[in-house]
């Protein structure tokens, strides 16, 4: 059967493709090169096609399961589809204004929905969470609470621009700066952890297919070194 044969080929080639594209992307750490550009373009193409295909499939499932059942629903579905198509007038200079119709609907809906609870969800609850007792159950909690209160107040004062940061405000703004630096440092640490975790995950993926990993790595590295060598021979030393 053709499908079985195809499934077999894909299963065999899958690890090779994975290793190839991963190494192409990683070759950027050496320098920008055609292998990287090829993998980047392929990735973008596949990701876009996947998203479009997946969402069209969802649209079709909605049509089958809900919207094709009554004539009113068919009309509503067609109307929604037509309004949705207006997004593509983004690419027309003449009819650009039509694109504003779905845009305004989307923005209006989103803002309306999120504003409904935003004040409580992302403002009042957060303020309430900083109203903490200065003396807590354990000495560590007490210290933690005192630090939170000091840091919140000083950072708030730091962004109070009506008064010049002189006199007592000079000291509070210095504490605020240290507070923010500590915060950014912690955020940087978290970022490093994420990046490393992603790299380790892909390295583990590569190691699970050793023959493909090693042979593809040799090919990519060899072509990069040879192209560098040829370029150096063409350009005299010291030339810009």
């Amino acid at each position: 059967m053709l499908t079985d044969w195809l499934a077999g080929v894909i299963t065999t080639l899958g690890p090779w493709f994975t290793a190839f594209f991963l190494l192409c992307i990683f070759s950027f750490t050496y320098k920008e090169n055609p292998w990287f550009r090829f993998a980047e373009a392929t990735y973008l193409g596949v990701a876009t096609a996947y998203t479009i295909g997946f969402n069209l499939d969802w649209l079709l499932s909605q049509w089958k399961s809900v919207w094709s059942l009554t004539s009113t629903k068919i009309m509503l579905f067609s109307l929604a589809l037509l309004v949705g198509m207006l997004w593509y007038f983004r690419f027309s200079k003449k009819y650009f204004w039509l694109y504003r119709i779905p845009l305004s609907i989307a923005v209006g809906t989103y803002i309306g929905l999120s504003l409904r609870t935003m004040v409580f969800a992302q403002f009042l609850h957060q303020i309430r969470a900083t109203f903490i007792p200065l003396v807590a159950k354990t000495p560590m909690d007490t210290l933690n609470n005192i630090l939170i209160v000091i840091m919140v107040l000083t950072v708030l004062l730091y962004f109070y621009f009506t008064l010049e940061h002189r006199g007592p405000l000079r000291y509070t703004s210095r504490i605020a700066r240290y507070t923010m630096m500590a915060g950014f440092g912690a955020a940087y640490g978290d970022t490093v952890m994420t990046r490393m975790a992603l790299l380790i995950g892909q390295a583990r993926n590569l190691l699970s297919h050793p023959p493909s990993f090693a042979s593809i790595a040799i090919v990519i590295l060899a072509t990069l070194l040879v192209s560098d060598y040829l370029r150096m021979r063409r350009e005299p030393r010291g030339a810009k």
């Binding site: 089958k64 969800a121 992302q122 952890m193 490393m196 390295a203 583990r204």
Partner: protein, 288 residues
Amino acid sequence: MTEMEERRGKGFWERLQEVDSRIIYLLLWIVILWPLITPLGLPISISTGTREYFQVIEDLKPGSRVILSYDLSFAGLPELGPMTIATLHHLLKKDIKVYICAFWDSGADIAADNIRALEPEKNYGKVYGKDYIHMGYNPMREVGMAQFASDVYKAFPVDYIYKRPLETYEMMKGVQSAKDFDLLISVQSGTPGNPEWVRQWITPYGIKYIIGILGVSVPEVAPYYNAGQVKAFLAGLRSAAEYELLAGRRGAALAQQDPLSTTHILVILFVVIGNIGYFFTRARPRRS
């Protein structure tokens, strides 16, 4: 002057601050591959946050209804994949109803893959549609979440696996809106994610809510945790490994802890080296 000649003209401490990125990458590969090939077995302690996450699931009463939302992409899988599969394993081990959904397109496929990998029928004695269900994908982001909260069947008319109307499944009896669920778990790598769930589910309905996030998202989520909106969260591969230990399923996160530690040591080392170089160049007058 070429780049090489320019570098040669600099002093030792100045050069220490400008290590070639290719050398750092090479060292990075070495400290990743070496512990992956020969594991070091560094000890792992379990943090309070991970215990809280574990306990929220552990405290669920029999028959509870839990939503597990896959709000992640393939790019986030190396970090979020292990905690997602460990969470699903933990949920399937218990006598509760699991409702799987996704607000990211790739999330629906990842969920289907996880179900295939765990084989709930064979390994946990669970029945599709009775004990767990994959409700599929909703592309409408925050609007879809609001729709899901007010009417489950409008947000997910058919299930993902068999494309049958959701109301035909046994476990959907008595389920209409957000109020009918006991816990919401979202494993997420961006938008729509935590703020959207809090706005549409947690604030209006007061559902218990825990999440799994990328390490990079911790500063964004911490205020929600302090405010009590997020009851517990797992952050990154490290928390995932701790959770794997607690949930009793050793997986990819545990296997990746040694390289995670060695890479961190390397980064710390370079930060220290860079700072030493900076202080020494600052302490003495610059070369003309």
